[in-house]
Symmetry: C2
Subunit: 205 residues, 2 copies
């Protein structure tokens, strides 16, 4: 039996990196569409067009793959938003980011919810390592939101506490995404984010 390992091999060739990424991104898509429980290693192998020996070379077991998917979604979702988050130091920047989030859900026809929040909700009670990895992704996201708010606060434009406000905005975003996913309607996300913008705007001068 293979022993469990979370660490990727110390050095991967460029081709090795590409194969690993092909597997992780296929797994991420399957888990986003069908949940973690609804995704088997066999499904991933087939979607990534990988052999069993390739799959198990990079990921000793499903748990190792799950952790890699969380890391991948952290990079894709949070990392992908960082250029926009860097401009959250104005109401205008906040509006642009929120409009992007709403449009993205519209493009997805409100399917899937937050790729990170969904993994967290499904795994939190049964996989402590996954919960901690999702917690890390949320903290990075919160930190990205906080940066711009803190800049507004330091310039004296924002009177509210940027720490609390960043956490509130991320929570509102997560809840809005969940309600939008469940109702298959973009309105919950849109209304909630607009309320957040108003809430910030009411505390600026």
């Amino acid at each position: 039996m293979r022993t469990h390992t979370e660490q990727r091999p110390a050095k991967l060739t460029r081709k090795g990196e590409q194969t690993r990424l092909r597997i992780v991104s296929a797994a991420a898509k399957l888990m986003f569409d069908n949940g973690v429980a609804g995704t088997t290693m066999e499904d991933v192998k087939s979607a990534a067009q990988a052999s069993s020996s390739q799959l198990y070379h990079y990921f000793a077991d499903k748990q190792a793959l799950i952790l890699a998917v969380i890391e991948y979604q952290n990079e894709t979702v949070v990392g992908g938003q960082e250029p926009m988050l860097a401009r959250l130091d104005s109401i205008e920047g906040l509006r642009t980011w929120c409009a992007f989030l709403v449009q993205h859900q519209r493009d997805l026809e409100c399917r899937g919810g937050c790729p990170i929040g969904s993994l967290g909700g499904e795994l939190a009670e049964t996989d402590a390592k996954a919960r901690v990895a999702v917690s890390g992704a949320f903290l990075r996201w919160e930190s990205g939101i906080r940066g711009g708010l803190r800049a507004m606060h330091e310039r004296g434009q924002l009177t509210a506490d940027p720490e609390d406000l960043a956490l509130t905005i991320l929570a509102a975003l997560q809840g809005g995404l969940l309600l939008t996913q469940i109702h298959r309607d973009v309105r919950p996300l849109e209304i909630t984010l607009n309320a957040m913008i108003d809430h910030v705007a009411a505390q600026t001068r």
Copy 2:
């Protein structure tokens, strides 16, 4: 093979009702602790101390049981909060409700998240009937929140739109619960709900 049915038998004896409820509440607890995928019919049978013939008499298959669990959590969580929701026509009532929600998470050591939101997040993409049932529970919850806000609005105390505000509060609550579950810390829920109270208070006169 049994055919799938969602409907409970037309008439249950009192004893039958009790057995059915014992099965559903055991399933609800297991699904809250371990997720839907982590709960087998065998687990439910054992936790409810029911025989196979009892279990399959009331629930033709796991999907029928899942729908009964969503209905049960709708009654327990939303129905259980309705007396408090009926007093959301004041900032004081809002504070009492929010304090209850935070204390409840503290009692649970931040485990499990929202019993309804968690089911929704896990099932939304793979079980359309479950998604619709969760949607119904969220609409009932939103309606409960809206009632008090609408009363404040009609009395001229609340200047904001009670429809949008109720949806925003439920989204903030759901997101706060998710972050609290993932970080195992009551702070996200507490901060988010306090921000919501401030947001409502700022729009009252």
